[in-house]
Symmetry: C2
Subunit: 242 residues, 2 copies
């Protein structure tokens, strides 16, 4: 079923079959099972996991009034370090991790009507735990990305980005690299984990309940340690839009 | 060499072998040749082409003083509809297309030292021309995305996004779709073309001179007409950060 990618190419493989996740579930074990029943699990696979199932397994769920569509708004303020913009019911805020997103990443889709789902407390740690558990149980060294769906200014539509990672360089730093004509590259820092999170979304979909995807074929240079929170969150002092 | 993706999966395939492009070159013909020598060209492939080769083929090149690293800055202002932020030499502006990016998308990498490369005048039209030429000559109905590398606020690192497209829906509109527990989705508009542009960047790289990638395995629902400029550029009135 899972074929190796063409030389230099990548395969983006959906991992169906993950059951509904509840607080305390052994998420890593369930991911391993689903992978083995689907595309397999190979060294240097990048396993992209949706924030929603990570938050559910970690019990980041709060009971809210199911009849009030705005019942989670007080949670948004509690989960925010500061509000960046507000228009009507839309709150764009900075989370305690430093992510800038709508509603502090809290949402109520794919959970019961009386539940609001918060972001993982430490999303890099969430990724590390899954990565370590997969290695511990299968002896397979994979990278793990925890992905969530964020909007952005200036461009309509949402894309998946990384909120946590383990075993992969969040940024590919090309400083000092020369282009095909020998000139030093102007574009020096590619956000590898965000491009991988977006690629995984292409096979996961929003309504299909496929919470995991495997990206196979990545080159050696991708793999290493690094933190989304430390390396991707732009320091407010160097940010022109905060 | 090019294997079909796993069921529900995608293959992201680099297309090496494109020669150095000069103004007036038959870019579509060269893309067809390179694809046929590489991963092939199949119905419903998404062909992602870097802005740089499109701009070169369209002659969007301006001669500048090769010894002055800031020689292209007057061009930035000329290509901008308005400046959004400015800090030192960094100019974030809105281009005439409506894209918000650094230096109005002008850059000097992968061109001769005395050349600055501007964005295509009408990047959706550029994509349509390539798509139509591929169909006219090979009878293969593909989608085409023209991709460029943009930064974004709040998150470090750059990602590739779509600046033009043809034959593919820029946004997958999930309004009215229900999630796995029957609740209407909060996330309703996925920016398909930006996720595809970013996925293609993963196999193209910045320094390798691989200007084209093919994404194979996309479902029927992706394909259709639509314009990046009309559908992705957020109207200033609904933009909180302009």
């Amino acid at each position: 079923m899972a074929l190796p990618p063409a030389p230099g190419g990548l395969s983006i493989l959906p991992v169906p079959g993950l059951p509904e996740i509840a607080p305390g579930d052994d998420l890593a074990g369930l991911i391993i099972e689903a992978c083995l029943a689907g595309p397999g699990l190979e060294a240097d696979d990048v396993v992209v996991v949706s924030q929603k199932v990570v938050s559910k397994a970690e019990g980041r769920l709060v009971t809210v009034d199911p009849d009030d569509p705005l019942a989670h708004k007080p949670l948004v303020l509690a989960e925010s370090a500061r509000v960046i913009r507000r228009r009507g019911e839309l709150i764009i805020s900075e989370t305690k991790h430093g992510f800038v997103c709508a509603n502090a990443g809290i949402d109520r889709s794919n959970v019961a009507p009386d539940i609001a789902c918060l972001l993982p407390e430490d999303s890099d740690r969430s990724a590390r735990r899954i990565r370590d558990a997969i290695f511990g149980r299968t002896d397979t060294r994979v990278a793990v990305i925890v992905a969530d769906t964020f909007g952005r200014p200036w461009r309509r539509g949402l894309t998946d980005v990384a909120i946590g990672s383990a075993g992969i360089k969040p940024i590919l730093d090309l400083r000092g690299t020369r282009d095909a004509v020998g000139r030093e590259l102007a574009v020096t820092e590619v956000c590898l984990v965000d491009e991988l999170a977006g690629a995984a979304e292409l096979v996961r979909g929003k309504a299909t309940g496929v919470a995991v995807a495997v990206i196979r074929g990545g080159p050696d240079e991708w793999f290493g340690e690094g933190s989304v929170v430390e390396e991707i969150v732009r320091h407010p002092a160097e940010d022109l839009f905060r």
